[in-house]
Amino acid sequence: VDKLSLMLDWFPNIDHLPLFVAKEKGIFERHGLELSILSPSETADPLKLAASSHIDLAIAYEPQTIIAASSGIEIKGVGRLIGHPLTTLLFIGGKNIEKPSDLEGKKIGYTVPGMMDLLTDGFAKENGFQKYELINVGFTIIPSLTTGKVDAIMGPYKNYEVVELEQHGYTPGYFELEKYGIPDYDELVFVTGATTLKDKERLIRRFRKAIQEAIEMTRKTPEEALEVYLKAVPEAPRELETAAFARTLDLYAHTQDFSVEKWQKFADFAASIGMIDKEVLVHAILWNGK
Amino acid sequence: MLRLSHLGKKYNGLPVIDQFDLDIEKGSFSVLIGPSGCGKSTLFDLLTGTIEREYGTMEWIGEAVPHLGQIAAYMQQKDLLLPWLSLMQNAMLPQVFSKEKHLRKNKKAKGLFERFGLNGFEDYLPGAVSGGMKQRCALIRTLMFEREIVLLDEPLSALDAITRRSLQSLLLSLQKDFKKTVLMITHDIDEALYLADTVLVLTQAPMKIRDRITLPSEKPRNLDSSEYIAIKKRILSELEEEMQL
């Protein structure tokens, strides 16, 4: 067996379920792989460490990957985990926010400065509202919303904070970005450093196969997959994760191959809202197993 | 009158002061003389409540008191000057804590600095003056208290003969003018004979009164007279005996 190390984008959560399925169900093993899974201290770490070859694979976000490429970090996308945006503009339902333009004059929180604030600006431009106050709420999402300190937050995941809000007895409302003028993008992708890809191309190819198999197996036997995950991640609260899983199942990538066209569209959009300074030609950073 | 009965204090189970009785006339000047380490400072600490006695009672003018802490001014053997205050500030501390009007005391302190040969050094920090000057400052501080009893633990030990003599007469006049009850520890027998109404010669620890010598009331005294020379010899030989035990 060959060893690979992979760093998650955050602590293990339902989005990572296929990885645990592949690991526990012996799919990696069948492909001659042994995968060690690590958690980062911060969402930008996995990408940095992968780019510098200190780990083999990292889970990153497409916007983040494009930012990295734009600033000259030699990073390669090698696979997909979640094929659409999870990020939403979240608010508490029943408070007169029906359509994006209702956000006119409201306080909008965001999670990550330098990314979500720009995305909000883009969102506002696409949806024709101009006046709003941006507030950096970090990851204190639910408290900020429920205490009314902000009216909406850009950044929460539709399969996660939305469910949490529900579980605390609120009716969540949210705008899915891709439905409101923001180009579709892959929320979670596998990336690796350029040199790692050269050195471990064969292993990574096998990894792509294995992960896709795991996603398919998850789709086929979701209950079993969930059980495997809950066993592997005992600290995960069953109720919440079960509810989250239901909303995630469809979002796991259907193929490991990237759509260069889709990526380029988002990269151009990123440049247009100032998320990146230098334009990025995405075909240079995407690797579809060839 | 100050009356101590059955006073006692042990350290680590060993008695330093044991069943100590003493009567002191109000307004008198008593001097304690005893071997080094016999318990003199400990006695003063007990009197002022600086350390707690284990047993015994104290009476002042017929009334039992827990200790003399608020009745007596106490000059300890260490100077205990605050290093961050100037000599004058150190000396004026008792005044800071009293509620009386200040001007008079201010004058008093200035006068004492003059008489103690410390004029010009009012603003020096204790770290910048000599050992004897520190001792004098501590003595001034003690005299700045206006209390009925004054306890002095070797107040003049670090001073030269002349300064010492002038301060001795100062002490005498203060005691006479203000009718203070003074208890003083010294190792200088001449000093004792010069100042005391009563000299108390103490034994080795556990400390007792070995001899109580009441001196003639004439003051100032001529210590060269045969009477005093005899008393001096007596004290010396008593101390010598104590040391040989």
């Binding site: 911060e42 969402t43 930008a44 990408l47 940095k48 460490l49 780019a51 510098s52 983040q64 930012i67 990295a68 600033s71 970090i73 990550v112 400065p113 330098g114 990314m115 941006l134 507030i135 950096n136 709420v137 970090g138 990851f139 204190t140 408290p143 900020s144 205490t147 300190k149 | 002022t48 409540g49 600086t50 802490g69 608020q70 007596a72 106490y74 300890q76 260490k78 205990l80 605050l82 290093p83 961050w84 205050l85 501390l93 008792p94 800071v96 804590f97 009293s98 920090l125 770290g127 208290f145």
Partner: protein
Amino acid sequence: MSFVKRTVVSTGLLLLLFLLWEGACRLANIPIFILPAPSRVLFVAVTQAPLLAYHAAMTGIEIILGIFFSITAAIPLAVVMFVYPSVEQAFSPLLVASQAIPVFALAPLLIVWFGYGIWSKVFMAAIIIFFPIVVNLLEGLKSCDSDYRKLFHLMGAPFFQSFRYLYWPWALPYFLAGLKVGVSVATIGAVIGEWVGAQRGLGYLMIQSNARLRVDLVFASILWLTAIGIFLWILVGAIEKRTLTWTR
């Protein structure tokens, strides 16, 4: 050693360290997004000075306010704990607990209490600075020599006067040691505070730069932050020199 000579030697030492760091970055080929070389950090710190100054001003104010409030709270608390040992017993677990709470647990509470304004950051900084000051001041007060205490007792000094003339000067070197620690950790305190709800400040700039993988800017922010810290440190040192005149 003369002051000049000492400064020369210490500058040399610092330079040496920076050269080593530079060399390590270049030779070991550490990528810029993991550890930027000092030359790069310096370059960014200088070329981006207006941006950094804009953010540093905010953080600076937070730090100053944090220090101010923590001193204001620390002195009375230490005194009360000193005077009433039962208060010390009751509060020291809380004090220790206050050091064990990570930001994210506190952040929601801070937002509810203080909103997104400057006060949540000031509070965060204050909590961090507060602790070393209280602990040191308390230890300093406790270290006061019992002979002096008794002297003051005998003099019939009321508590406030004893504090002013005896306990405070006695504990002052401890207090200043605590303050030195305090002003240094104040930097990270304010930064941590800025992770939630800030629009401006070096902490805000840092997460922003980090998210955008501008690690050189992160380190340039640290450099500026350190400059604030060192300034305050030197200030405390100067206060020390001026007030502790009797120790030499």
